[in-house]
Symmetry: C2
Subunit: 344 residues, 2 copies
């Protein structure tokens, strides 16, 4: 806005009115005559007047922008969530500012600070893989900044949350592998501190238990950065392959871990599903054209974004402090494809 736009004062001067009259005319106040309103409106249109949003926000005390924190928008799951958020935010006249943590706690803290440096009406966040405490958010929340968690949430802050049914997602995938005849089902997942890891792992364990299978810790591998680095997935896979009882199936969580596992197994010449079956969380639209087509747990990302934005807007627009918070759980969908074709 450094470019020279015309101001309300310019209009006032040109029309021989006061700034307050112009302002009121523009906002269609009852105090202003129809004639004057027309005059002002016309002049404003002709000269392409745009109210300075900075001044408006400063005066009104809200900026009509919300912040988003995700690990990376390169992950289709998150870009879909963001699309959902934007679809409702824009309808309500809100702008969004997106920041990425790249799974780093340090960057998360920095980004949140960056965001609040700018004027924010609310924050939508999915925690980074490294994040173990949420003091940086707690403080802001106490100060009155509305926050809504989605995907990777924290139980340490009482606020609205939107998550997928991670337990069921893990359960469904694992159960499917069991029913398809696989015996030694491994699990490669994100670090244990984040909510989705715990929930999906619980689903995995529950399915095994129900089938009377033992839960073997050697089959459970964690990637400290949720698969951000290929190496961490490679280590996990190598450890699994080095086991005396190699797994005959792998259940992966997170887009990155899933696709990296697929890549590494292919690269190692391991046939999927004949040597090892693969079922993984992913929201890529490419699951159908992968080699082989991938059995996947799909999350309603767009809806998650919509819900989260809805709830945040509700918090922002609420006249009185909200004390009752809810957690929305969205169903996931298991798509069965060739990467887990039945044994025999």
């Amino acid at each position: 806005m450094n470019f020279n736009a015309i101001t309300i004062r310019d209009i006032a001067k040109a029309l021989g009115l006061s700034v307050s009259t112009v302002s009121k005319a523009l906002r269609d106040s009852y105090e202003i005559s129809t004639q004057t309103k027309k005059l002002v409106a016309e002049y404003a249109r002709e000269h392409n007047y745009r109210p300075n949003p900075l001044a408006q926000s400063l005066k009104k005390g809200h900026s009509k922008t919300i912040g988003i924190v995700v690990s990376t928008i390169e992950n289709q799951f998150f870009s879909q969530v963001i699309n959902g958020i934007e679809s409702v935010a824009y309808k309500a006249g809100f702008n969004v500012i997106i920041t990425q943590t790249h799974e780093s706690y340090e960057l998360e803290v920095k980004n949140v600070a960056q965001l609040t440096h700018h004027a924010l009406d609310g924050l939508l966040i999915s925690l980074s893989a490294e994040t173990k405490d949420v003091e940086h958010l707690q403080h802001l929340n106490k100060q009155g900044l509305p926050i809504v968690f989605f995907d990777r949430v924290s139980s340490d802050i009482k606020t609205h949350k939107v998550i997928a049914d991670n337990l069921k997602g893990g359960y469904d995938a694992t159960k499917h592998l069991i029913e398809a005849g696989y015996k030694r089902i491994a699990h490669i997942t994100s670090p244990p501190n984040i909510s989705i890891t715990q929930e999906r792992l619980a689903g995995y364990k529950q399915a095994l238990k129900e089938a009377g299978r033992p839960i073997e810790e050697q089959y459970i591998k964690y990637c400290p950065h949720g698969g951000r680095d290929t190496e961490e997935v490679e280590i996990a896979i190598n450890e699994l392959l080095a086991l005396p009882n190699k797994p005959d199936a792998i259940f992966t969580t997170s887009d990155r871990i899933t696709t990296t596992t697929l890549f590494l197994l292919n690269k190692a010449g391991i046939k999927i599903p004949n040597d090892i079956a693969l079922a993984g969380y992913t929201n890529t639209t490419l699951a159908d054209v992968l080699n082989p087509p991938l059995t996947s747990v799909y999350q309603p990302a767009f809806e998650m974004g919509q819900k989260a934005a809805d709830m945040l807007l509700q918090l922002i627009l609420s006249k009185r402090p909200v004390t009752e918070f809810e957690t929305i759980t969205l169903p996931t969908q298991l798509f069965i494809r060739q990467s887990t074709h039945s044994v025999g």
Copy 2:
């Protein structure tokens, strides 16, 4: 910022100073004694003072935020570009606001208006597939808003631009197909009005010409929305397949067209590359694990974002109006994979 943050006035009151003194102390002015500075700094830190960015921007006349317009962040090419932009913008203390056109001219105009409604120091834009005129940008540019084009540019506005070497990209892919032994090479691309279409098409034609091949319009198909809708790709493919001389290879541009073509060919039971070979533009990290692994033209998206942001910052930060503009052309890379394995 509706949440009650402390202001400079609060500090002044608490410390028995004037607001100007506090402001100057915070900005480390030579006018203020070391003691007072310490006092103020300490109080500010203890009470977690953050200058109101709105007020600062209003006063200083710049907002330290830049706007980005892309077709969709779900496209990995664009999310990579955005990563590049962010990497330089944040370093310079700038925030970015991302908007998506979803290939709609109407949405593009709307978004640009939305963005300028908010305070913007500059704009980074890749035109939508529908966009044929750029008056909505010309006006802003004339008013002094710095604009840098990337990827899909317009020749109607004189400003900095960053593009990939689209001609060479199209040329390389086509030449590779020719050398691999394919005879009837089709081309499915974006609408003819956008720059990348024209340039890549020119590369395609050049390679054919050099090889002494005829250029047959029946082999060139346009998708009005750059593959946004599966149907438009389906129509193109069906038309190609209905030809008396069906193509034995297809060169596709844009991520969406490429992956959709792959999907549709697979679905139709057409073997790649045996029945029809496929080479396509894509920046997905999944090209290696597609079925089959896809020969692709890869664009240096991250670098493109960096360069574009660099140039925009240069424009924004320049003291005097810039009149000399340059267009940077980045090289693309052809990755040869199984989808175009040599004939015979």
